[in-house]
Symmetry: C2
Subunit: 193 residues, 2 copies
DNA sequence: GTTTTTTGCCAACGCGTGTTGACAAAATCA
DNA sequence: TGATTTTGTCAACACGCGTTGGCAAAAAAC
């Protein structure tokens, strides 16, 4: 009675079920508050399978929560609109179905999981900083990138983790315009050094 | 041989030792990763005392991590400089010895402890929002306050939780100037709606 | 049709957790 | 001094956690 789908052996389907359940729960509750038993229950399989398939809880987390939040092509963005471009790309990345909410996972876990925190730092170091460095004096690049990071980070915290009502309700367009303007000022050093 | 300090019975001194140790550990590791055994060890007493004195781990957390992060007098701040004033007050509050780092505690725990998250929301609702509402049109007050909150929140996350190097190294003065300018623009609605 | 491999469940382990109650030492009171 | 309350320790509990090994059923291979 098992409807055998060709080219999808049972194993990969349960692998995917585990990955999906893990992503949902990690992003909802963070690393600590998510148990292997919860993931197994949601995926409809025994918790022991998780260890067999992924090696352990930490390994599963590293596998589902740390895919690259890749900003597309910031290295070629127009310096005059890099603020809005950056914010738009982040929002699309965070709220697109593809990523499955990888950012809330990281944010929720960064407080208790050093690997998540390091991944966040790396994200800004490898993606935000280079883009910022291109559009202003190199002496202040680190500071400008830090300011940009603080604003982007705060936007994500307010909108996805803390769920501050006004920030949750703002449309993507409005956010791109308002926060983008701030990022633009930070990026170009338009603010007082 | 016990040097009996008048007017400080032994009980209040160990109460304070527990509170101090709890604040330090909660702010360092967040709620989940901090155990009552750790707190007891650092305070130099048996973990069971913590339950006896405070009722339990949750109650102790509520007692040490939720004192009001009170902004002094924002209701009478000069609208022309409310941005810098606000950022300066937050920084002083967060980094002053008095508060003992109450903000990192909240931030680290907000991801896993709903009470901490609610306390953060209340903080912005009761302190930031009213101050923002006074310096601009009431129709956009919620949105402006939300934007201010996102920037303030991100600053705290970057500086205290994620420890992003450039943000950690910035002096209070520079932060007050740069971030203050952003908050000023958000607060007064100088940005595009 | 028989063997072998895959896929899964079950029971249990070792450990760390918050919490409790019984009891000893110290301080306080009479 | 003797009685009583305070302050603290100790051992143990019940529970939930990640993880393990053994075994049944299904699938695949021969």
């Amino acid at each position: 009675m098992t409807i055998a789908r060709r080219s999808t052996p049972k194993s990969v389907r349960t692998r995917e079920a585990i990955e999906t359940a893990a992503k949902e729960l990690f992003s909802l509750n963070g690393f600590d508050r998510t148990t292997v038993r919860d993931i197994g229950a949601r995926a409809g399989i025994d918790p022991s399978m998780i260890i067999r398939y992924f090696g352990g809880k930490e390994a599963l987390f590293a596998h589902v929560a740390l895919p690259d939040l890749q900003l597309p092509d910031l290295s070629q963005a127009d310096p005059a609109t890099i603020g809005e471009t950056m914010v738009r790309h982040f929002l699309e990345q965070w709220e697109g179905e593809q990523a499955g909410g990888g950012m809330p996972v990281l944010l929720r876990s960064a407080a208790s999981n050093e690997e998540a925190a390091e991944r966040l730092r790396a994200m800004f170091r490898d993606q935000v900083f280079p883009a910022i460095a291109r559009v202003g004096p190199s002496e202040t690049a680190a500071m400008r990138a830090g300011l940009v990071a603080s604003q982007i980070l705060g936007l994500a915290m307010a909108r996805y983790v803390l769920l501050l009502p006004p920030v949750v309700m703002m449309s993507q367009d409005v956010i791109v315009r308002t926060v983008g303007e701030t990022v633009q000022r930070y990026a170009t050093g338009a603010t007082g050094l």
